[in-house]
Symmetry: C2
DNA sequence: CACAGCCTTATGACTAGGCATAATTGTCGG
DNA sequence: CCGACAATTATGCCTAGTCATAAGGCTGTG
């Protein structure tokens, strides 16, 4: 029966780090998933292989994997194996609404129209944009999303070609930036800013509403590890859209969903 | 890259699996913490005691506790024991913005004014309200929150006296409903709905803005375990307020914060 | 009496191995 | 030839028990 060799090893190597073994393993696996090395749907090594790889006991690996599964990053099925979740970009952390699915789910027909597409250098007068671009070029997209005949989102998006150079090869005429990114780039962090504004003439024209109508504005930025991936501004007519979010402490069911309203905006009571 | 793809994952969230043992234990412990049975700072039974209580192995308990510690609900210290975290009501789960702190944090002076306070029975013509009240009376509050001289929120709130009967004794002239509830009722679940609307005459008058100005509307409902606690509608002038949220998969830093804007609303670029 | 350092021991982290489960494969009957 | 059912076995889940760690007490010295 082998003695516990590993503890003394880890102590010698990582004396400065009080991090527990299973936390280091967890970090490592998270990194592989979020970096894209293990893409969504990938079957990760089983407990026995990981055990050998990290020179630890099976139960330690199991603890890590159970934790990641509870977090929604992976899914485990007996006999089948452990797979990187496809939805870790939505269910695990925050469900970034996929406009296509939202509209279809409400029974309306969805269509998408690309308005503009340009590769350009970041504006020097915009420090936020400069930091986002990291000295590389940006891809800027403007698009409209329709539910039935009505436009329900105008979207302006920046994609960092420093982080996602392959986006430069995509034409985005048929697939929206959000959909393409969700399928190709796992993200690890996101910030949202949600506000309201009165429709400017430009927005009113694009959304086919009156100037001054209330518009819900969502600004979102996502990162993969520490690299900025995309930044997007979305504008919704107030009577067509609202965001909803549900939070529970188990942290497994944090979900944000977007709904397309069919009735008029509910008046305050 | 030779990627092994699993097809059945994309079918959506797991459909009510039989729930493993350690997940049941985890739920149970969460319940005790969130219900207030184990208040913040409480030292929970050690692994040996829990092992006996749940008739399982030590490692199973350890897995649960490690998970809860990673989620931030508890804190573990060798030799000292395991304690319920003091901050689980804000940082661990979701920080429900406390308007008072938000305003003060921005350097503006905060004031609060109660407009109306009434105990009443639920409206029979509102099924949502009936379900919320559970046959008991409701406490309805209307209030304004000011940043400096300007009103920046009009808030209408319902409190379920079935769940929080002691709220009937509070007069809410000095302390807002949200503040009082945060200090007295731990919550375990919350839903948000966020939208935009043009100011109605009533809202415009209260917020001292023009009729038709864009307003950010937040509807929030919270539960303690399965019992509804409160339901609130908040209306913010669009130029004064937006919500922001930051998400990461490590699950430790899920935070939502509200900011008071000082500049005008950023125009779309 | 106060403080520092050693010692005890409660406590959490880990190892080792067996059990239960369900996806796959094989087999039989229509 | 195809579908339903059973056997197989890879895989995740759980139990049992050992080891390292650090909080708090104890002892000895200034």
């Amino acid at each position: 029966m082998a003695r516990q060799v590993n503890q003394s090893i880890s102590k010698g190597l990582a004396a400065a780090r009080p991090l527990e073994l299973y936390q280091r393993i967890k970090r490592d696996l998270e990194g592989r998933i979020l970096s894209g090395e293990w893409p969504p749907g990938y079957r990760i090594p089983n407990e026995l292989e990981l055990m050998a790889q990290y020179r630890c006991a099976r139960m330690t690996v199991n603890k890590v994997l159970s934790g990641l599964a509870a977090a929604g990053l992976i899914e485990r099925r007996r006999r089948a194996g452990t797979f990187v979740s496809r939805q870790h970009s939505d269910s695990a952390v925050l469900r970034i609404p996929n406009l296509h699915d939202e509209v279809i789910g409400r029974g309306a027909s969805y269509s998408y129209k690309l308005i503009s597409r340009a590769v350009r250098s970041p504006r020097l007068d915009d420090p936020g944009e400069a930091e986002f671009a990291q000295g590389q070029d940006l891809l800027e997209l403007g698009s409209l999303h329709f539910a039935g005949e009505r436009p329900f989102t105008y979207e302006r998006r920046l994609i960092s070609l420093a982080t996602v150079p392959e986006a430069a090869e995509v034409d985005f005429g048929d697939v929206s930036g959000g959909t393409w990114l969700m399928d190709h780039v796992p993200w690890s962090e996101a910030t949202h800013r949600i506000g309201a504004l009165n429709a400017t003439p430009q927005i009113a024209r694009l959304l086919k509403i009156a100037v001054g109508e209330a518009v819900l504005a969502v600004e979102r930025q996502t990162w993969r590890l520490r690299e900025a991936v995309t930044q997007v501004w979305q504008y919704f007519p107030a009577d067509l859209y609202h965001l909803s979010a549900r939070f529970t402490p188990s942290q497994t069911s944090i979900v944000e969903e977007a709904e397309v309203r069919h009735a008029a905006a509910p008046a305050p009571k």
